[in-house]
């Protein structure tokens, strides 16, 4: 329990570091030196030191938004097993709670955006409400596959003990589909290219960034930290899927897990460097691809392999 709690605290503190990897990769592809690896910590400290300016249109919901979205992202990490270590909390059906809690965070992010009366933020909010619907369908499809394979509905049951390796043994190559589908979900849920561009300066084309235009100071810091945690959550799920080995030694497990994480973050960075953002009406098709992959993985595994 204490160890798991320490892992949880470590995850929150390391999440900003890994996100900086993406910036480094993008800088490398652009032939630049790029910001230092600790850039996100500097940004957070800077934001936390500042005061805030609130729009006269906003209400208390605007202030509640960052707090709820950060709390939901941080709570979700409590249920996440890291490097073969059992999570702090785990119960039958915790995955449903996790997905719906992320939904709660999304609800408040959208509500905070609508609170500002800004047409741009409304536009971002509409997209933020739309795209995750397909992502959720995909995630539930993957959940069904995992449930039928393991008979468990706990996140911990898929990533501790013999499990991630066992999943590969049982499902085999369709697990590749699952990994790709999850990667697409990661890109969409964390507003990365090709769904959204976190670096753009044209408000009309953004989703997540445009929704937080009016937040400033510590509030904005909360939002940033929340999104680092959320990205870390999805990335570590994929990391444990692509590094499904359990060595029995904590240090070796940690190394494997970190290697997996670095691979995922590098992949996100490479993706952002070599691809352009999709036109908005292409995004649902991109996301439906993930659903199709998850669906086929489930059907193939359960009909032909299991």
């Amino acid at each position: 329990m204490i160890k798991s709690l320490m892992f949880w605290v470590l995850a929150i503190f390391l999440a900003p570091f890994f996100s900086a990897l993406i910036l480094k990769v993008k800088a490398f592809f652009g032939g630049k030196k790029g910001p230092p690896l600790l850039i996100n910590y500097y940004t957070l400290v800077k934001l936390f030191k500042k005061g805030s300016v609130y729009s006269t249109s906003t209400t208390f919901v605007f202030k509640l938004g960052p707090m709820v979205s950060l709390s939901s992202a941080v709570t979700v990490l409590l249920f996440l097993p890291l490097a073969g270590q059992a999570p702090v909390f785990s119960f039958n059906g915790d995955l449903l709670f996790i997905l719906y809690l992320l939904g709660l965070g999304r609800f408040f992010t959208i509500a905070a955006a609508m609170d500002t009366a800004s047409p741009f933020e409304g536009m971002g909010a509409a997209r933020e409400a739309y795209f995750p619907i397909i992502c959720e369908a995909t995630l539930f499809m993957i959940l069904i596959l995992f449930y039928v394979l393991t008979g468990e509905l706990r996140l911990a049951a898929y990533f501790t003990g013999s499990q991630p390796f066992g999943l590969w043994q049982m499902a085999g190559s369709p697990m590749l589909f699952v990994v790709i589908a999850l990667f697409i979900i990661l890109l969409a849920e964390n507003s990365r290219v090709p769904v959204d561009d976190p670096a753009t300066h044209l408000e009309l084309t953004m989703i997540h960034e445009v929704m937080v235009l009016d937040h400033s100071g510590p509030d904005f810091g909360f939002i940033e930290l929340g999104s680092f945690c959320k990205l870390f959550f999805y990335a570590s799920i994929i990391a444990q899927l692509i590094m499904p080995f359990e060595s029995g030694y904590l240090a070796l497990n940690l190394c494997l897990f970190t290697a997996g994480l670095v691979v995922v973050y590098l992949a996100v960075g490479i993706m952002e460097s070599v691809m352009a953002r999709y036109r908005m009406d292409r995004v649902p098709k991109f996301l439906l691809t993930s659903f199709a992959l998850a669906f086929f993985a489930t059907v193939i595994t359960l009909e032909f392999i299991k």
Binding site: F97, M123, A129, Y130, I144, Y147, T298
Partner: protein
């Protein structure tokens, strides 16, 4: 006199007293609300006691010397009675300040009479123990709610809505009557309890016929057409009762018949499940496309009936496939969702009622920024929105959680159950996402941002009788969401009587699930409290500025530029265009000095659209051909009657 009868008498007295006191407007309202409220409170405590102690109570009396009227309260009835009395009680209190037009005193008095009749008849529907009693109460319920729908009968739209509702409820009743005829023909008994002696084919016919009949009351797609018309027409507290509990009597009917017939074929479970998925998804898609806040909420009733049916369908499949845990999870989730939906939907309708009363419009895109002046309405509406979107830590999540768990159980079974469970789980996920989109639209456009029209602004938020029920309901949403233990216990007590043959359900595993939900919610609150504390620390001694919203460089923003509900929903509706055809009327802007243009959009309900071609026109054609029978000659009419009797004597 036992307390159930007492509550019926009190409620009816309240309705009658209003008629005599209509000249004293305030006194009339106070007396009517007082009697109805106390009657509901008595009934509520009675139902809760019976449900907790699993007591059963039966009474029977003669009617017309031919039929006996018999009533029985078992766990299932008591569970539905709880939500009926709870919502009616709060709606009655709400009506005290909502019906505030003393010019319409007589009409208000009449509406109290029908309101009382509606509550009493709903209670009688769920306690009826034989077919005659059930049908009688069912008809009183349909008729009294019809008169409540046409409360504002001056408007042609409202009259049309009432007419549509009348037709639908009576066509539905015909299906139920036909099924009951088969029931009696096969068993020779009017008692529900004698249902399981029939051959299986008769049972299946009865189940399907009653599913259509009850479905048209409950608002199952494609029999939901009356709902989005009737709910906006009725006064808001009536909408709250109709959408919150009256349509649930349809669900009660389905479960009651299923239980009493004891036909455990997978086919009926599949029908219920598929109907639930279609209603759920299309209900919320149509809701997204609405511009009228009450129509939108009415479509959400279709969606939630869908979720309830998914739960019950999973339960039925669990029974068919011999998986008791799946069955109990499905039924418990579905039944708890009945209670949950009655709570958050009546809350939302009441909130919409306050908005409509204070601003004078139901059009979402004309409103905006109401949260600033209407704190209580805004916050309770926000709570209701979170609950209806199925988000933790509110009550909608709890029932959906149970349904999901049941669905996952089914996914581990053989092929048919696997396919259906996958579909159920994915539809629930999609419904959840769409509901979130829809309610961020309502909250975001109506309550947040800036007022879109200078002439439509929020007045003050007066009327404690309207605000109190909303606070109570919002509180319940929260309590059930965080401490579901007691409420799951109630739902589990309602299941055994449905005759699934499992005897006593072990409570322990299900109580464990509720304990997990409580734990997770607590963990979230602890962390939220931590973040709030952190925020206080960060903002200590900081300068807090205030400015206009950042317009991305644009310096002359107007409230007209805000995203509207229509634009918010546009891209999602585009995705569902085949099921929800969008009609737009928007003359293009042209020329150097363009004339004023407008934009109007309407999402067509395919059920409504095709109903005209598939049902209405053929029926009209047929009746046109049969017009010669109606000639107005009284002698021949007497002849018809004689002929009918002779023919019947010949056959029977």
């Amino acid at each position: 006199m036992n307390s159930f009868t007492l509550s019926m008498v009190l409620i009816c007295c309240g309705g009658l007293a209003a008629l005599f006191l209509w000249r004293q407007f305030l006194l009339m309202k106070a007396v009517a609300v007082g009697f109805i409220g106390i009657g509901c409170a008595v009934g509520l405590t009675d139902a809760l006691t019976k449900l907790l102690h699993q007591g059963s109570y039966a009474v029977s009396l003669k009617y017309l010397n031919l039929f006996s009227l018999s009533f029985q309260i078992d766990g299932l009835s008591a569970f539905f009675l709880v939500s009926i009395f709870l919502v009616s009680l709060l709606a009655a209190v709400y009506s005290f300040h909502y019906l505030n037009d003393s010019q319409k005193a007589l009409r208000t008095a009449v509406s109290y009479l029908f309101f009382a009749l509606l509550i009493a008849s709903m209670a009688l529907v769920v306690t009826a123990a034989n077919l005659i009693t059930f049908m009688l109460a069912w008809e009183i319920m349909s008729l009294s709610s019809f008169f409540l729908v046409i409360y504002d009968y001056e408007s042609a739209d409202n009259r049309k809505a009432g007419y549509l509702y009348f037709v639908f409820s009576h066509v539905g009743a015909m299906f139920i009557l036909a099924a009951f005829g088969i029931f009696y023909g096969n068993t020779g008994s009017f008692m529900f309890a004698d249902g399981n002696t029939m051959p299986d084919s008769a049972k299946l016919t009865i189940l399907i016929l009653t599913f259509i009949g009850f479905g048209s009351k409950a608002g199952v797609f494609p029999f939901h057409v009356w709902l989005p018309h009737a709910h906006p027409a009725a006064p808001s507290h009536i909408s709250a009762v109709m959408s919150g509990v009256m349509i649930k009597t349809g669900i009660y009917g389905i479960v009651r018949l299923y239980a009493s017939l004891g036909l455990h074929t997978p086919l009926f479970g599949e029908i219920v499940l598929v109907a639930g998925m279609i209603s759920g998804i299309l209900g919320v898609v149509y809701a997204l496309g609405q511009h009228d806040i009450k129509r939108l909420l009415a479509y959400h009733s279709v969606e939630n009936i869908g979720i309830i049916l998914i739960g019950i369908g999973i339960g039925m499949l669990g029974v068919s496939f011999g998986n008791p845990i799946m069955a109990v999870l499905g039924f418990a989730g579905g039944l708890l969702h009945v209670l949950n939906h009655s709570i958050f939907k009546s809350l939302l309708f009441m909130g919409a009622g306050v908005v409509i009363q204070k601003t004078g419009t139901r059009t979402i895109d004309m409103l905006g920024g109401l949260l600033k002046n209407m704190k209580i309405t805004g916050i309770t509406f926000l709570v209701g929105s979170l609950a209806i979107s199925g988000l933790p830590p509110f009550n909608g999540f709890v029932s959906e959680f149970f349904i999901y768990l049941g669905g996952f159980r089914g996914a581990a079974l053989d092929r048919t159950a696997f396919v259906l469970s996958i579909m159920a789980i994915v539809s629930l996920a999609i419904i959840g996402g769409l509901a979130l989109a829809c309610f961020t639209k309502v909250v975001g456009v109506v309550f947040q941002g800036e007022p879109r029209r200078p002439d439509v602004t929020a007045g003050d938020e007066k009327g404690p009788a309207m605000l109190l029920p909303m606070l109570v309901l919002a509180g319940l949403c929260f309590i059930i969401g965080v401490f579901p233990r007691m409420f799951i216990y109630l739902a589990l007590n309602a299941i055994p009587v449905s005759g699934l043959g499992y005897g006593r359900i072990p409570m322990e595993p299900f109580m464990q699930i509720t304990a997990n939900i409580t734990l997770a919610a607590t963990v979230f609150f602890v962390i939220l409290a931590g973040v709030v504390a952190l925020r206080l620390v960060f903002y200590k001694d900081k300068t807090i500025g205030s400015a206009g919203t950042w317009g991305c460089g644009f310096t002359q923003p107007t409230p007209k530029m805000q995203y509207t509900g229509t634009s918010y929903a546009a891209s999602i509706l585009e995705f569902f265009r085949p099921a929800a055809p969008l009609e737009e009327d928007h003359p293009a802007i042209s020329g150097r000095f363009p004339i004023k243009t407008h934009y109007h959009s309407h999402v067509h309900d395919i059920a409504e659209r095709h109903m005209v071609h598939v049902v209405v026109n053929p029926v009209l054609w047929l009746f046109d051909r049969l017009r010669w029978i109606q000639h107005g000659d009284i002698h021949l009419y007497i002849g018809y009657i004689l002929l009918a009797i002779v023919v019947l004597l010949f056959f029977i």
